[in-house]
């Protein structure tokens, strides 16, 4: 350790040295009251107390975490560049392709990935299905990050980021985008409220805790209504472009397609993430929960399949997707990987009762639905856009920002798992 007094003078140098040594010895578990005074130090001490998750064995000082931090750093730089020089400088978007990767993946995909929360919240708080209680906190937190990702990305995607709050005060009720914006804000607040007991518990703020718990059922219902609307309104965004979105995706039922596929994705993702956290953190996954989720995926997925077949039969016809065209093939991949194979596998008892196989099925569903969002948002309008003289492939900055946002969500989740009581039922 260098002698910091040399650079900072005896006063600050000494304090810095002490801090550094303390950190080396105790990590973030050091006593903060020493530096911040009793009031804030105490608070921070409580927040940073990770004894709660000691049994999970989460380590922060790993190469993986460092990689995440690096990716987030790159994304932050890109965000600054984007804000300084404009959306045209950072992205490959153009007049024929006004929406690209950030809308399709971060917003359409990010929000869809958050669908698990309202389902689990409804199951636990409204339907009183107690067995899902152990995954409620994790899935709500996961949704919070999904929405945060969507919110940050759309803030960077709009050309005038600093006035993105305009729709909230300049109501325009004909606009689905207005509905989307309003819901995004309201639902982020709702998810924050639903997650807040974890934090209050930790800080020991009994008053706040019991207040939130008392409102919880109302909050959950509000969240359910918002989610139903929000998931479907992302599809409804495209209702107004019958001449631009390819008929193999365009449908008057697009809001329902989005809603049902988001529910399927949401259930699969909750199951995926429960299994994953079970693998990387030391905690045991309750088997009947995963099997229940798999059943859910099966039921909702069948309904989705029915909707999609109905759409093909009443609209463009099966020929439109089997003609070997680029878009037709994309459609087939999306449906085969995300719906048909997972559903067929889930029909087998040997898959439904095997956690590893369910894990694989979950991954397929997630990839399939994400591809669907990319298809609707990017590829589906390609015929119109290239016909009008456009061309689009995400720029490096667009890609790197999206990757950084994903890293942000993973790291955020990991930090919360370490410092909050995320898996309450397994904590005995």
């Amino acid at each position: 350790m260098k002698d910091l007094t040399k650079y900072l003078g005896p006063r600050y140098g000494g304090a810095a040295k002490q801090l550094a040594e303390d950190f080396r010895k105790n990590g973030l578990g050091m006593d903060m009251t020493r530096y911040l005074g009793p009031r804030y130090g105490e608070l921070l001490n409580k927040l940073l107390d990770d004894s709660i998750s000691a049994h999970l064995g989460i380590k922060m000082n790993t190469p993986f975490t460092l990689a995440l931090v690096a990716l987030i750093g790159v994304a932050a730089l890109i965000a600054v560049y984007r804000l300084l020089f404009g959306i045209g400088a950072a992205s490959n978007l153009n007049d024929a392709w006004p929406w690209g990767l950030w809308i399709s993946f971060d917003v359409l995909g990010g929000v869809a990935m958050a669908a698990g929360a309202f389902l689990i919240a409804a199951a636990v708080y409204i339907f009183n299905w107690k067995k899902y209680k152990c995954i409620a906190r994790a899935s709500i937190l996961n949704a919070f990050f999904g929405y945060l990702l969507a919110a940050i990305s759309i803030t960077l995607d709009v050309g005038r980021s600093f006035v993105i709050w305009h729709p909230l005060v300049m109501w325009q009720l004909n606009s689905v985008m207005f509905i989307v914006a309003l819901h995004l804000v309201l639902y982020l607040t709702t998810l924050g409220t639903e997650s807040s007991p974890m934090v209050f518990e930790k800080l020991g703020w009994q008053g706040a805790l019991s207040f939130v718990n008392r409102c919880m059922v109302g909050v959950v219902m509000f969240g359910v209504a918002l989610s139903l609307l929000h998931q479907s309104s992302l599809g409804a965004n495209y209702l107004i472009v019958p001449g631009k979105l390819n008929p193999i995706w365009y449908s008057h039922l697009l809001p329902y397609h989005f809603l049902v596929s988001a529910i399927m994705l949401g259930l699969a993702l909750v199951s995926f993430e429960t299994l994953l956290t079970g693998k990387v953190f030391n905690h045991k996954v309750p088997r009947e929960v995963i099997e229940g989720l798999a059943r859910g995926v099966m039921i909702v997925g069948s309904f989705y399949l029915f909707l999609k077949i109905w759409h093909l039969a009443t609209g463009p016809g099966l020929g439109a997707v089997l003609d070997g065209s680029f878009l037709g093939n994309l459609y087939l991949i999306e449906m085969v990987v995300g719906v048909i194979v997972p559903l067929s596998l889930l029909c087998l008892r040997s898959v439904r009762t095997n956690l590893n196989r369910i894990f694989a099925v979950d991954i397929m569903v997630v990839l399939g639905v994400l591809l669907n969002r990319m298809n609707v948002g990017i590829s589906g309008v390609s015929e119109y856009a290239t016909g009008s003289g456009g061309d689009y492939f995400p720029s490096l900055m667009e890609l790197a920002l999206t990757v950084g946002m994903i890293a942000f969500a993973i790291l955020g989740f990991k930090i919360c798992a370490k410092y909050l009581n995320l898996f309450p039922e397994t904590h005995h």
Partner: protein, 333 residues
Amino acid sequence: MKTSRRAFLKSLAGSGGALLATGIPCAQARMSKELPAQAVGLLYDATLCVGCKSCMVNCKKENSVPGGALYKKGMTAPPYERGPKGDEAIWDAPRELSGKTLNIIKVYKNGNCQQKDRAVDGYAFFKQQCLHCVSPACVSVCPAGAFRKDPATGAVYYLADKCIGCRYCQLACPFGIPRYEWDSAWPEVRKCQLCRHRYHEGKYAACAEFCPTGATIFGKVVELRAEAKRRLALRPGESYDFPLQRVDATEKTRRAAAKYADGVYGLIEAGGTQNIMLSGVSFDLLGFRKNIAKFDLPSLTWGYIAKIPWVFAGVFLGGTAIYKATHRSDKEG
């Protein structure tokens, strides 16, 4: 879950308030499908156009003054376009509409290009710009109300101060008209605003005023539609007095009528537009897409938005019922 009945009902009532807030204003928000009584617009007759691009030049000039659709604070010269990379010396010869160009004259060519306004072995000019839809998709989708339709003249205009730059208007416009200032850090959406800023001086659309042949004329939409109908009824070769600049002009030019290919463009497209067009070459050959909806596009989303209050009502009523049913056994606990 311990929830006192009173607290539960209270939280329910609060959410009910939110429901009313979303429910009530919706009822009045629906967009009109009717042409405003005093609606104005343009008639562009491609068979009269000689491709001089006077409209383009003067559109840019007249809109680069305060109030104009291209004007920005501190602007000293109109936003001229440079050529593509490596060819920057080319001066203001745009190939497409853009953040700097509100209308454009393009040429159609086929075979040996011998005769004007003929699809085979012929050529023709055509004009692209905002058509000022009767029920504009761009207005209906804008989350901040930055796109507006003037209730009197029906001109579709833009308020940069409100815009957040989401570019939904670009996606939604069936004709692909709105353009973005991609090269700016604080961009605006750009499109023809029907020279709205010139009306109070008694002036009208610059592209009509400066059109030497009467290919673009300005006027009340009902009169423009009647004029277009009269032209369509002419026999090819029959001589006709075409008004110059305005549909109600006294100055006219006598010419032989050409053969029109289709009907009037803009009567049913996207539910009707205030700018209408006539052409000797059919419109889909000129690049006007065939699959443009023949009804007002905003009605597609309205069906969805109108359901929103019901979703809230359904979730809260259904949710309460289920909550009551599933928590009955817990009551003692």
